[in-house]
Symmetry: C2
Subunit: 237 residues, 2 copies
């Protein structure tokens, strides 16, 4: 790997992305394994001097994971001192055959802006980059030990995802345009990691005012066909 050029990037600023995947059943997260280290981490990167923060995240994510046009959103910026581990970074670079001096910019302290996304993992094919041995989906209940403060970042990302589910669900594109209340409940149960009472769930979702109910199709004489819903175009009132 070529040595990353400090003149191209803003020093001290990084981003890390928690990309959650869902495909009708389990909630997963995308993790990378670094070359020859056995170390796992979230996909992340740096901001070029002439690009916006959001542009950097889109570009870097494409370069590192092969994923394009994913809607990512900021959730928190991490600025503790515990996340500063120059020896760890030195080892990662060494395993890429990059030798650096003690004052090399990547060994400095970084503040990292956390982004998250939620996508249908069956519709995408992540690809490993120059730094990684592998990239793949892991169940959120079975996340290995991650580098730096990345386990903490995942916890905060999950909290954010779960707290904002009602407001954000529309933008995640996880459901077909028209869906049943049962399909919607499946999404919530997988993401929240718990079973929900059917009647309470339905009452709550309807009270949010984000769903539009459509006429039943009386095909084949069945009167038990469930109602279909779609998200109102305007989102939450």
């Amino acid at each position: 790997m070529p040595k990353p050029d400090p003149a191209l990037y803003l020093p001290h600023i990084a981003y890390d992305s928690a990309i959650f995947g869902f495909s009708g059943e389990k909630l997963k997260i995308l993790l990378m394994e670094y070359h020859n280290t056995g170390w796992f981490a979230l996909p992340g990167g740096f901001v070029k001097t002439e690009e916006t923060l959001d542009e950097a995240v889109s570009r870097g994510l494409k370069e590192r994971t092969g994923l394009e046009e994913i809607y990512l959103e900021q959730f928190h910026t991490f600025g503790s001192l515990e996340r500063w581990k120059p020896e760890t970074m030195k080892t990662i670079l060494k395993e890429q055959n990059v030798q650096v001096d003690a004052d090399f910019w990547l060994l400095d302290r970084f503040i990292s802006i956390g982004y998250y996304a939620l996508i249908d993992y069956e519709k995408v094919e992540p690809a490993k980059d120059l730094l990684s041995d592998s990239i793949g989906w892991y169940n959120v209940e079975e996340i290995p030990e991650l580098l730096f403060d990345h386990n903490h970042i995942v916890v905060k990302a999950l909290e954010h995802l779960r707290t904002h589910l009602d407001q954000k669900l529309l933008s995640f594109n996880l459901l077909p345009e028209r869906f049943t209340m049962k399909e919607l409940q499946n999404v919530y149960e997988a993401i929240l990691g718990e079973n929900l009472n059917r009647a309470n769930f339905q009452r709550k979702m309807l009270s949010l005012g984000i769903l539009e109910r459509h006429e039943k199709l009386f095909s084949g004489g069945s009167h038990k066909a469930p109602y279909l819903y779609s998200f109102k175009k305007s989102g939450i009132d």
Copy 2:
């Protein structure tokens, strides 16, 4: 003013704080006016190399505004290129009698982490710092033009405050320990900037499960005394 020493701070990283004030009626925001420029801005600052981001915000806010022990929370990080205005920063420094070279660190591009707070402005006394001619409370409907992207930061802070009011109200300490539904409604109306229907408001607040209702005090024979409420200690269930 002494020239800020680049060795003390992380370059390229700043914070800005939107401090909202409420005291029973109007929602206000704390703004500073820079020396000899007529320019207004949010109070902000920089992160020292050996302090966490949160520590930097607490320290800097105390130095710039005299406010101590205010609970501030992150809401968004701003990383556009439009916010990079070296000539503006140069003028501010010049009016402080600080002469700098073209490569001085404060003229570089900064990414800024936005923090917000909501406090009772009658309980605090902001004080101006070395950089400012004045510091004071402005009605949120009458905010002057601010430097850099600070008007945009205020808009995002207000959005965040309004969206998260139900979850955060407890931590703002704006109400006495026990309060009436009417007092609670006054807080919401001032922050949301609109009048709310009394019955709908009461129904919504009770359905959130964050309030505890207390017995009425039958003093003086009045049976029309309103119920008193307090926030449940655990916050939202």
